[in-house]
């Protein structure tokens, strides 16, 4: 039932419940969804699938979200893909770190699926205009 032309969203999160929840709701909201469990997978998937947007959890095992973001933003083929950072760390400096790493937007968990979809649609609209 998902439109093959619908935007492809790469959801990167090591916490399965959260990853699948967001993936399920994004599909429910009409997006195509790919998933990655860590930084390495995120970078591989991004290069392979060239998603329209990446939801990137920052605290990841192995290569973390900041490193993965830096790599994707450093590559010509992926640097245009908007990356929305997701983090449970609300301590000061977390969002700054994310921006410095190259994230285009920053969402603090907990984030209701509905709010997340609003943010995804806003970022996609902004990217399309740019």
């Amino acid at each position: 039932m998902t439109d093959q032309n619908a935007p492809l969203i790469l959801v990167v999160d090591d916490y399965q419940d959260a990853r699948e929840m967001y993936a399920e709701y994004l599909q429910f909201s009409g997006f195509r969804v790919a998933e990655a469990r860590n930084g390495n997978e995120a970078v591989e998937q991004a290069f392979a699938l060239k998603p329209d947007l990446i939801l990137m959890d920052l605290s990841l095992p192995g290569m973390d979200g900041w490193e993965a973001t830096r790599r994707l933003k450093a590559d010509e083929t992926t640097k245009h893909i908007p990356i929305v950072a997701l983090t449970g760390h609300a301590l000061a400096g977390a969002s700054e770190g994310a921006r410095r790493a190259g994230c285009d937007s920053f969402v603090t968990k907990p984030c209701l699926p509905d709010d997340l979809v609003v943010e995804v649609r806003r970022m996609l609209g902004a990217a399309k205009q740019a």
Binding site: A18, M21, G88, L91, P110
Partner: protein, 723 residues
């Protein structure tokens, strides 16, 4: 009367003397028929008295020795007459020649046509003309005269003189007739010679003077002072003159004052002009023939006086020295007595010469001393004596000081007195030992002081040790505290880190819970029956509450860790009040309370963190709404010009807070009601966060409230950003 008539008669050579006067003389001759000398003297006095003849001499012919000798004189020096003798051998001698004459012969100096001058024979009458009348009895012209009467003065002589010469000649012949004259004369001469030898042998001047001070008899020494001869030098004569004057004056004073008293008389030595001091002893001699005379004996006391003065001077000097010595001794005594330590001076034999009061207390007994005291004094004496004898026996130089300790006792109390004896020898200039001075220094005080000092030192050492150990302990404690502080800080940091991590860990599952609940309510799993929806809503609201708690804990942790970022901007406090009311409008509506904003007519601009200020005001208003059941709420904005502080006060008519709980409510996780069944919800972190935020903004939150009287919470922040 009588004398007056005689003087008148003397002017003429005629017989002027009355027959009664002649008779008087003859009667005298009869009365003293054996004494030639006295008869002759009376005759010459008679001549003086009745005829005014001032100087006359009676000479007698001594057949045995063929000499014309002096019997007596008037107005001339007696001894001159007595010693006078003239040889009769030369019949051509003018004076001898007169003996053969019957008439008087007048002698005077004359010069005849350049012939050698007929000189006047030398007689005791001295120079000047005189008349020699031969003493002849009757008219017998065959025999030589028995003697000569020499009368001083110019010729002619009164006829009474030859009469007297005749009368006297008869008397002499009469006496001679008994053959006494020569013997008498010799005896007298011997006596006189002896007399003069005696008085001349006396070294003190002896004089006989008349009452006028005229010299009658003087011994050789007196003559040197008072009699001037022709050949004396001018200086000597003057000295003698002066001496005579001085002597006369002294005599007249003697006569007036006390005659027998010895007087001092200062005369001049005619030889060298030096002063001679004499003591004059005068006595009056009454002589019917010679009249009143004064015998004076002068004793040369010049040397005596000098010696006396010397002695006096020495005595005065001695007195001064004695006074000085006494003063010195008094001063010494005073000094010795003023010394608190006993001082004893002993002589070379060890006997005590002097001691001061403190020493007396040790070595002398008082009147009512008991046996014990006596024994003590004796023991003290013995101790001291053995110490001194040790010094006296030992060979030592003048500067040597002997020291020793003597155990004495106080005779009054019997208490032992340990003393240090310090003794020094006192030597004379020749090195002879005269005394030993000993000072006894009471050592009790020194010993006591030493003991106290020892105690003090001990105490001080102890104290020092204690201080040291205390200091060390303190240092240890400090170090411990420092480490604890470090540990606490670390712990605090760890806690904050832990809480931050925990809140993250809480959020992850909570994220899933809230997410799926939300998805279900959104109809991801299709339409849900109403009861399921209601149950999902419960999950959702509890999940949100949990999220609030977690967020607030995170806030506190952030503030405490100093990681709360501040974003200072300029804004109007009035706006904040309106925004908060808008935000909480649903709650206000639900509470059915009237909330009255009392904002200022003009903008109240402050420089602060807008978000934080709003957060605080939201919290305060939420609380007011939560704890107020009826009445109203006021939000009032104000500005303090004096301290330049902006305030937002939230006043409710709620349950109020007892003063004892005013502080408690600002503590973490606290409400007034802490019980599990408490009526009001909330984390109990709201006011704790508000206070921390207000402090972080440089402001404060104050509370004015009483139980049942409502509350006013006021946020006060500086209008200008903290520098």
């Amino acid at each position: 009367m009588n004398s007056l008539s005689v003087r008148t008669a003397s002017r003429a050579p005629a017989p002027v003397v009355s027959p009664s006067a002649r008779l008087e003389l003859l009667e005298y001759y009869l009365a003293h028929h054996e004494d030639l000398s006295r008869c002759a003297s009376a005759s010459l006095e008679w001549l003086a008295r009745h005829l005014g003849i001032k100087k006359s001499i009676c000479l007698a012919v001594d057949g045995e020795s063929s000499l014309l000798v002096g019997i007596t004189g008037y107005g001339v020096a007696t001894e001159d007459v007595e010693l006078y003798s003239h040889p009769l051998a030369d019949r051509h001698d003018p004076l001898v020649a007169t003996i053969g004459q019957s008439q008087p012969t007048h002698f005077r100096t004359m010069r005849v046509n350049g012939d050698s001058a007929r000189t006047i024979p030398s007689t005791p009458l001295g120079p000047g003309p005189f008349t020699a009348i031969p003493l002849r009895a009757g008219r017998d012209g065959q025999r030589d005269a028995v003697g000569l009467l020499l009368v001083k003065g110019p010729a002619p002589i009164a006829s009474d003189v030859p009469w007297l010469a005749s009368a006297l000649a008869q008397k002499i012949e009469q006496i001679r007739g008994r053959g006494s004259l020569a013997e008498e004369t010799r005896r007298l001469r011997r006596e006189r010679a002896l007399f003069f030898t005696i008085i001349n042998s006396v070294t003190d001047p002896i004089l006989l003077t008349d009452t006028e001070g005229r010299l009658i008899v003087a011994n050789a020494r007196a003559e040197k002072l008072f009699a001037a001869s022709e050949e004396e030098s001018e200086g000597r004569r003057r000295a003698i003159e002066l001496n005579n004057m001085l002597f006369s004056a002294a005599l007249s004073r003697t006569a007036v004052e006390m005659p027998s008293e010895a007087r001092e008389l200062l005369l001049v030595d005619p030889n060298d002009g030096s002063d001679l001091l004499f003591e004059v002893l005068s006595s009056t001699v009454e002589d019917p023939r010679e009249g009143t005379g004064i015998v004076s004996v002068l004793r040369n006391i010049t040397d005596l006086r000098r010696a006396t003065e010397q002695i006096e001077e020495n005595y005065q000097r001695l007195r001064v020295l004695e006074a000085a010595a006494r003063a010195e001794r008094d001063r010494l005594n005073l000094i010795i007595d003023s010394v608190a330590d006993p001082i004893i001076v002993t002589d070379q034999g060890g006997a005590t010469v002097l001691m001061n009061k403190p020493a007396e207390e040790l070595f002398t007994l008082w009147s009512d001393a008991d046996d014990a005291a006596q024994r003590t004094v004796q023991a003290n004496d013995a101790h001291f004596s053995s110490f001194i004898s040790g010094l006296l026996l030992g060979e030592s130089g003048p500067g040597e000081i002997r020291r020793g300790e003597i155990g004495l006792m106080n005779p009054m109390t019997g208490a032992p007195i340990p003393v240090e004896a310090i003794a020094g020898k006192v030597l004379t200039e020749t090195g002879e030992l005269t005394a030993v001075v000993t000072i006894l220094h009471d050592r009790r005080e020194a010993l006591e002081r030493a003991r106290l000092y020892e105690q003090l030192k001990k105490a001080s050492d102890e104290l020092q040790m204690r201080v040291q150990s205390a200091t060390m302990e303190l240092a240890t404690q400090n170090e411990l505290l420092r480490r604890q502080a470090i540990e606490l800080e670390q712990a605090s940091r760890l806690k904050s880190q832990f809480l931050a991590n925990m809140s993250h860990e809480f959020r992850t599952p909570l994220n899933a819970i809230l997410g799926y609940t939300h998805m279900l309510l959104q109809g991801v799993a299709g339409d849900l029956p109403p009861n399921v929806k209601r149950q999902l809503t419960r999950i959702d609201s509890n999940g949100r509450h949990l999220l609030t708690i977690i967020n607030e804990i995170l806030d506190i942790t952030r503030i405490e860790a100093g990681k709360m970022p501040m974003q200072i901007t300029e804004f109007d406090v009035n706006e904040i009040v309106q925004e908060v009311m808008t935000e909480l409008d649903p709650v206000i509506t639900r509470s059915k309370l009237v909330v009255t904003p009392r904002i200022l007519p003009e903008a109240l601009l402050v420089q602060s963190d807008r978000q934080k200020v709003k957060q605080i005001v939201v919290n305060l208003l939420s609380n007011a709404l939560k704890f107020t059941h009826q009445g109203g709420i006021e939000i009032a904005v104000s500005y303090g010009r004096s301290d330049r502080m902006a305030s937002v006060g939230v006043t409710d008519t709620g349950i109020g807070i007892a003063p004892e709980h005013h502080e408690k409510i600002f503590e973490d996780f606290r409400q007034v009601d802490d019980s599990p069944s408490r009526q009001y919800g909330g984390t109990g972190l709201g006011l704790a966060i508000c206070r921390r935020l207000a402090n972080a903004l440089g402001g404060r939150i104050t509370l004015r409230s009483n139980l049942g009287e409502g509350s006013t919470f006021t946020l006060t922040i500086p209008a200008e950003a903290p520098q």
